[in-house]
């Protein structure tokens, strides 16, 4: 790691505004719906109005005969022209390995069945209304319990049940049972996490152009994963992958909701191909809330065993994950991660986790920021709190008694994760300290309480070998390219993508430091499969900065040496005599100078290189992490609970976070704060609910899917603890998801602290006024 010491004025570590903010603030953001519309046709998606049933008639004749439709494609045409989309991560027992595009049995409201293309979006939507669909209704299976009932209707009768697959991590359950039998104290609870809509402010959208003469498809997509979209479009449309180019323009937020190719997006690409035209589809908010894959959605039974001293002797969780109508790209992935991360920062005598994935008649679930680790934090930190309450112990004392110590690193958990580094007790102790100054008194009808929780987080996911072991078809490594152009400017290419997280600026800071040139010389260009190195995993799993950053540090170091060598030959001195000062190379002895730009020019002319040196002034490095690097944190919340209304107000929130070396603390803080705000939404407000009888989604607009507003999010206090990752070049760990994982657990425990009478019932989120008020009423506290 050279960057921190190269000179006194390093950019890595500098709190600085982002490079592209000026453009965004002027209204010059360029999102997919902002691309020039000349010659563009507009698509509307025909969706299922029913949660479950068999299509007996799909009649688009009225639309076709209207004279307004440019194209209508239904299940028959789609079936003839496409193949199902592949999945990347499957669970043992999974019988469906692909996502069907041609739908004959509908399994959720909003499922895309066909596409209409017209001259504008409004006309296309009118025409979609003209398509008549007859569906023989089948009973809807809503929720995990209903799906597992003995007489439950089956989503896939040929599969014989609604269980989509299952897996167990850690020692066998019988072994854990024996430990529970011998424990001095066992706490058991059933926990639930609601379905969440990732809800980026920019919904999904694609613009696809097929050029018949060259047989090339270009897709501009609001996505986190351009290379994955490219390979899936190629499979779905039966093209060679080199016939497809995917470009991501500015992306208006994603949060995991844009990590795959969706069926409606594939249908838009198909329409462009059939027509040989430019076709655009922009998701509206109702579609986004009902037909974009959702996150979370699980129930879990958890048991914690303790000995007489309060040491954790055993932990087991059985997670039932609601995968919805089919297993999406990574389908059960979040539930598997919830299981793998159940132990957090604590030692257990033994720990294991079981996952059962369950089909329901709801839109599939998939990635949402936090990816299973919000769920595991909720279960673990709540049950520890419950154990402390039952034993009459201080919850933080119990946590600290069981926390993994820094000298135990690297530490391997019961589910076989190996934590690389960190001082877990230090952040917990500091967060407890911070809480002491934040206690406020209760009043007659307003109860106040505080809580602190601990968390450990998978970041920089993941080593290729690990992914191969699990047969997960994601590129775990990340590649970076640094090109010094013929005019001396520097272009950086990487497989990661920008979606508002500021990765362009952070990577520019790293490369400028590594090369030793001013920041203005760097341009980071991301998101175009024609120029970006392959990465089908791209920006998710808190991996962009640690993995792309690590690759670019190594590429930058080599490029710097090459430029110094070229400068030395231009100056006729030994390389050890050459110093780069700003954009000028100087020879120490002669004082002769040559500019960076002239050296770049000479480089591209092929002048002054050694006999075996390559000419191309470009360095490409792939970084495959040797292991997962784990970020960790402690969170604290102070809440007020109104006994008359059940409303919970978060009055204070603080965190001590360790994400290793920080490149830009302004951006890192923004990631943590924004993620905590989302976590508070999960804790208190958001829920993608379904009618229990019909399976109709109940949250179809922002009036009934309630996102946190400014008044819901207090000013958050952040302290950083920096343990450089020992396994990632540059010492970085991820930071994008750390904030979202602990808030629900922290707020839940703070409510328990404020109103211990209802603590045992705080098992499901959102902790909405109605849920809290119901608990208050049961406890006789409602007034």
């Amino acid at each position: 790691m050279t960057i921190a010491t190269r000179n006194g004025d390093t950019l890595v570590g500098k709190r600085m505004p982002r490079l592209h903010d000026d453009r965004m603030l002027r209204g010059h953001g360029r999102y997919v719906d902002d691309i020039d519309e000349t010659g563009v046709l507009h698509a509307a998606i025909i969706r299922s109005p029913a949660a479950h049933g068999t299509i007996t008639r799909f009649d688009a004749s009225a639309a076709r005969e209207s004279g307004e439709a440019v194209l209508v494609l239904g299940p028959d045409e789609i079936g003839r022209l496409t193949d199902p989309l592949p999945t990347t991560w499957r669970i043992p027992g999974q019988h469906l390995a692909a996502v069907e595009l041609a739908i004959r049995t509908v399994r959720y409201v909003g499922q895309p069945l066909g596409v209409v293309v017209a001259r504008n979006r409004a006309v296309a939507e009118d025409l979609a209304e003209l398509v008549e669909i007859d569906i023989d209704p089948l009973p809807a299976v809503v929720g995990i319990e209903a799906a597992l009932a003995p007489d439950a209707p089956l989503l896939y009768p040929e599969h014989g049940g609604n269980v989509a697959g299952g897996i167990h991590f850690g020692p066998p359950v019988e072994e854990l049972d024996a430990l529970f039998a011998g424990a001095a104290h066992v706490v058991e609870r059933e926990f639930a996490v609601q379905r969440i809509n990732p809800s980026p402010m920019e919904p999904r959208g694609v613009l696809a152009e097929w050029i018949p003469s060259t047989e090339q498809l270009t897709v501009w997509a609001s996505t986190q994963v351009p290379h994955l979209v490219r390979q899936e479009v190629a499979v779905g449309l039966r093209l060679r992958v080199d016939q497809v180019r995917v470009v991501t323009p500015d992306v208006g937020g994603a949060f995991g909701g844009k990590t795959t190719l969706y069926a409606d997006e594939a249908m838009t690409c198909l329409a462009a191909k059939v027509l040989g035209r430019r076709v655009k589809w922009i998701e509206d908010r109702t579609e986004n809330l009902t037909a974009s894959y959702q996150g979370r959605g699980q129930q879990a039974r958890c048991r914690l065993g303790l000995d007489a001293d309060g040491r954790f002797t055993a932990l087991h969780v059985h997670i039932h994950g609601d995968v919805g109508a089919f297993l999406s790209t990574a389908g059960s992935g979040p539930f598997q991660v919830a299981a793998l991360t159940i132990e957090g920062p604590y030692r257990f005598g033994a720990a294991g986790a079981t996952v059962t994935a369950v089909f329901t008649n709801a839109v599939p679930t998939g990635a949402y920021r936090g990816y299973g680790m919000q769920e595991s934090a909720w279960i673990r930190e709540r049950i520890i709190d419950e154990a402390a309450r039952e034993l009459g112990r201080d919850a933080n004392e119990l946590r600290l008694l069981n926390t993994i110590q820094p000298e135990q690193m690297p530490y391997t958990t019961g589910t076989m994760l190996t934590y690389d580094s960190g001082d877990y007790p230090a952040v917990l102790r500091r967060a407890v300290e911070m809480g002491e100054t934040r206690r406020r008194p209760s009043t007659d009808r307003i109860r106040r309480g505080i809580a602190v929780t601990g968390n450990v987080e998978i970041t920089g996911f993941a080593p290729s070998a690990l992914l191969e072991m699990f047969q997960i078809h994601w590129s775990g490594y990340e590649t970076g390219t640094i090109r010094v152009n013929e005019d001396g400017t520097v272009t950086v290419f990487s497989g990661v993508t920008p979606m508002g997280q500021g990765i362009e600026t952070a990577l520019a800071q790293i490369v400028a430091d590594e090369l030793g040139v001013p920041l203005e010389m760097i341009s980071v260009q991301l998101g175009d499969t024609a120029t970006a190195p392959y990465s089908n995993f791209s920006s998710q799993a808190s991996r962009s900065l640690p993995l792309a950053g690590a690759a670019l540090i190594t590429a930058g170091a080599t490029m710097r040496e090459r430029m110094l060598g070229l400068a030395a030959r231009a100056l006729g001195v030994g390389v050890e005599e050459v110093k780069l000062d700003g954009t000028v190379f100087r020879a120490g002895t002669t004082g002769a100078e040559v500019t960076w730009r002239d050296v770049a020019h000479r480089g591209w002319m092929g002048w002054g290189r050694g006999e075996t040196d390559k000419i191309l002034l470009e360095e490409t490095v792939s970084f495959d992490p040797p292991g997962i690097t784990y970020a960790y944190s402690a969170h604290g919340a102070a809440v007020a609970v109104d006994l008359d209304t059940g409303k919970v107000t978060v009055e204070d929130y603080w965190t001590v976070n360790d994400s290793g070396v920080l490149v830009n603390p302004l951006i890192a803080d923004g990631q943590i704060i924004g993620a905590i705000a989302q976590g508070l939404g999960t804790a208190l407000l958001e829920e993608a609910a379904f009618d229990p009888e019909t399976g109709q989604p109940l949250a179809t607009s922002y009036l009934d899917y309630v996102l946190p507003l400014s008044e819901d999010v207090p000013d958050i206090v952040i302290e950083h603890h920096v343990t450089p990752s020992p396994i990632i070049t540059g010492g970085f760990k991820g930071v994008g998801e750390s904030g979202i994982q602990p808030p629900a657990a922290t707020v839940g425990n703070a409510i328990a602290n404020a109103v211990p009478e209802i603590a045992a019932g705080l098992t499901a989120t959102p902790l909405s006024p109605s849920r809290i008020w119901t608990l208050l009423e049961q406890a006789g506290l409602e007034g």
């Binding site: 402010m201 208006g252 400014s710």
Partner: protein, 165 residues
């Protein structure tokens, strides 16, 4: 289910408005939203459409100085009016004071909701609202999924302080 009728060919209307100080005129369907008119007929794509339900505030523009959700207004209702969009905020190429404060305080991440917030806060500034009123009443009407609002609140404070209000 009633059988819907074939959509009638739209009668086009001409809408003329002063947009960012320039008289602009374009043909549009009577049912077109002001947001679509600005974005797709006039090419002013800085105004973003986040929900088309009047909730999120991303599409806020100023009509005769009043912040409105352009997804809740028909384009024909803006005929003869004076409209300001995010593209007009920078003067002589320089970001406005609040735009600069938003950059310095990291008040934006994905930038999609930002233009609407900029317009509402600009109106609040012109109306002489205090920083506290702007934070609670004005920012309170906008949804941002990325920032947790803290940077935006800091930008309002910072800008109001700098302007000596």
């Amino acid at each position: 289910m009633t059988v819907p009728t074939t959509p009638a060919p739209a009668r086009m209307r001409t809408v003329t408005a002063t947009v960012n100080g320039v008289t602009r005129s374009a043909e549009t369907e009577p049912r077109a939203l002001l947001s679509d008119f600005l974005r797709h007929d006039l090419g002013l794509t800085g105004t973003h459409v986040g929900c088309e339900q009047g909730v999120c505030g991303a599409c806020t523009v100023l009509v005769d100085d009043v912040p409105v959700r352009s997804c809740l207004l028909l384009a024909v209702q803006a005929d003869g009016r004076r409209i300001e969009t995010v593209e007009a905020l920078a003067q002589d190429g320089e970001l406005s004071g609040f735009q600069r404060a938003m950059r310095d305080e990291h008040g934006l991440q994905c930038g999609f909701c930002t233009p609407g917030i900029l317009m509402s806060v600009t109106a609040a500034e012109r109306e002489g609202l205090t920083a506290e009123q702007t934070t609670t009443e004005v920012l309170g009407g906008h949804v941002c999924r990325c920032t947790g609002y803290q940077g935006i609140r800091a930008a309002i404070e910072h800008h109001w302080q700098e302007a000596g209000r």
